[in-house]
């Protein structure tokens, strides 16, 4: 049991994917170990969302391998992955606007059948985000952007993720809300959930992460400990404007 496929939680090698003629991923290598919080940064159009969609089974890669918990990912249909603990909070949150807040959370636990612990998890989400409890009967489409992001996070927690993938959770949020969301991400990480965090806000992401990857034009151009990336002149110049 020493091959890297079996050791890391997520093991991605030479992953390629294209939309018609456009090559969005040109051979991505990436690992997430159990319990890690990994930041993936990159500019607009670098292929971050594409990578997460492939990992969540929504897009089929052209070539390359993905092992999740030691098994090739392609062995599962997209809807079976969440049952395996692989959960994506998509870009733009993807809440169900015409379902109530509570129903959205229930959708998060769709693939579970352990009713008593589902109830307990819902209580936990409400404790984490009291705002959601106050609005649990409201249609999710009427929530503010920040509340919708809380709902998206809460809904993801309802699936009891092993590996949580977050696609730009800070997008479009006021600074206060960004702080709140990042505190929550750290809290989730502290509970032992492995996290792959995609962010435009490179500084913030690298401050909370243990390791980081930089994705440019479909290729990983650097990967290092988050602390080192934070002080790397190249990264600072490209992603932090200094």
């Amino acid at each position: 049991m020493t091959t890297p496929e079996l050791k890391s939680l997520l093991h991605v090698r030479n992953l390629k994917m294209s939309y018609g003629g456009i090559q969005a991923l040109r051979g991505v290598d990436l690992d997430v170990a159990h319990g890690e919080l990994i930041a993936l940064i990159g500019s607009n159009g670098a292929g971050k969302t594409t990578l997460l969609k492939v990992l969540a089974g929504l897009l089929q890669p052209a070539s390359g391998t993905v092992h999740y918990r030691g098994t090739p990912l392609m062995h599962h249909a997209a809807h079976q992955l969440v049952q395996e603990g692989l959960t994506l909070v998509p870009e733009g949150r993807g809440i169900f606007a015409r379902l109530t807040v509570k129903e959205n959370l229930q959708m998060g636990s769709y693939c579970r059948s352990d009713e008593p612990s589902i109830d307990r998890d819902m209580q936990n989400v409400y404790e984490l985000f009291p705002r959601l409890f106050e609005r649990h009967k409201q249609l999710a489409g009427t929530l503010s952007g920040g509340e919708q992001q809380m709902l998206a996070l809460g809904r993801a927690l309802m699936s009891r993720p092993t590996l949580l993938m977050l696609d730009e959770p800070s997008m479009g949020l006021a600074p206060m809300m960004v702080t709140k969301i990042f505190e929550t991400i750290q809290e989730i990480s502290a509970r032992g959930v492995s996290i792959l965090l995609v962010e435009q806000n490179a500084k913030l992401a690298l401050e909370v992460a243990q390791r980081g990857y930089v994705l440019e034009n479909g290729l990983i151009t650097s990967s290092d400990s988050a602390a080192k990336l934070l002080v790397s002149p190249a990264v600072r110049q490209a992603y932090m404007g200094s």
């Binding site: 969540a56 089974g57 997209a78 809807h79 079976q80 969440v82 229930q106 959708m107 769709y110």
Partner: protein, 307 residues
């Protein structure tokens, strides 16, 4: 006899049938953005299968009520299988095709079903045996038969059951989630294909029941009965706001009432020039007016939200 109340009763009965069929159109549209023009033929198949099973049961000496129940059950099962197959064979391969493709396919499926029905059951009108007590009651000076009372009650029960299913169960939540965004629903672990199949089967079960109701009410069934009925139920769905389940129910009842009041008074209104057989004109007048003046229907939000 009071014409007004009589037409109200007739309209409610007819409207219940429209509502049940309209729900099938609206649920499929809600989840796939597709107008399943073959749905009317499912109603016809429901009536025909029930007719054959009832004739067979009677010939084996079963009591009429039992024969009707067995006929209804078999017809519901057959139509659910049919609805499942239509989606699986005709629509699923076209899920990513331009919208015109499934629409044309739907018309093709209707023609195939109609032709098959003609081959199996022939071109003639079949008498649908009357299996229920022939009693009737006087209500506000109008006559309502026991069959009509039963039609309204069964329609209410089935529609109520469907609403509970859609709004109170895990399956119903999944259906609404898929209708809103299939790929996000997939991320939640929903098998969208099986939810879509289930939606077709539920709509077909309602259609089968509607087919039996309408045949029992008029006492006839024939291979061509699905097309005009389907078009009217589609009108009802558009009138209520396609994609909206409450809209389908309201639209169905309203269309039944409009049609029946129209038919009751058209003679007086036109000085005897036009007879009650012009009642179909009202439905299509409603369809055209809604499409021109309020394409989103009475309860619909926006139209053309998907492209």
């Amino acid at each position: 006899m009071d014409t007004f109340f009589q037409q109200i009763i007739n309209g409610l009965v007819q409207g219940s049938v429209y509502a049940m069929v309209a729900l099938g159109y609206t649920m499929v549209y809600g989840i796939l953005g597709l107008i399943n023009f073959a749905h009317g033929e499912v109603v016809m198949v429901g009536a025909m299968v029930a007719l054959s099973v009832i004739q067979l049961s009677i010939s084996y000496g079963l009591p009429p009520i039992l024969a009707l129940l067995i006929g209804l059950m078999v017809s519901i099962a057959a139509c659910m299988a049919l609805g499942y197959s239509i989606e699986r064979v005709a629509y699923r391969p076209l899920r990513k095709a331009p919208r015109l493709a499934p629409l044309i396919t739907a018309i093709g499926v209707s023609m195939v079903l109609q032709t098959l029905a003609m081959i199996i059951w022939g071109r003639e009108y079949h008498a649908f045996p009357s299996l229920l007590p022939n009693g009737s009651h006087i209500l506000f000076g109008a006559i309502i038969t026991e069959v009509q009372i039963l039609i309204i009650l069964v329609a209410l029960a089935m529609m109520g059951g469907l609403l509970l299913l859609v709004h109170r169960t895990r399956l119903g939540r999944a259906m609404r989630a898929v209708a809103e965004d299939p790929s996000i629903a997939t991320l939640m672990g929903v098998n969208t294909n099986s939810v879509i199949s289930t939606t077709f089967m539920l709509g077909s079960a309602l259609a089968a029941t509607a087919g039996v109701m309408i045949s029992a009410n008029y006492g006839i069934a024939h291979y061509y009965m699905g097309s005009v009925l389907g078009l009217k139920a589609f009108t009802a769905a558009v009138l209520g706001g396609i994609g909206n389940m409450y809209g389908a129910m309201v639209g169905g009842l309203l269309l039944g009432l409009i049609e029946s009041l129209g038919a009751g008074y058209i003679g007086d209104l036109s000085g005897g020039f036009l007879g009650s057989h012009y009642q179909d004109v009202f439905s299509f007048f409603v369809l055209i007016s809604v499409l021109i003046f309020r394409p989103s229907g009475l309860l619909g939000e926006r139209v053309a939200e998907r492209s």
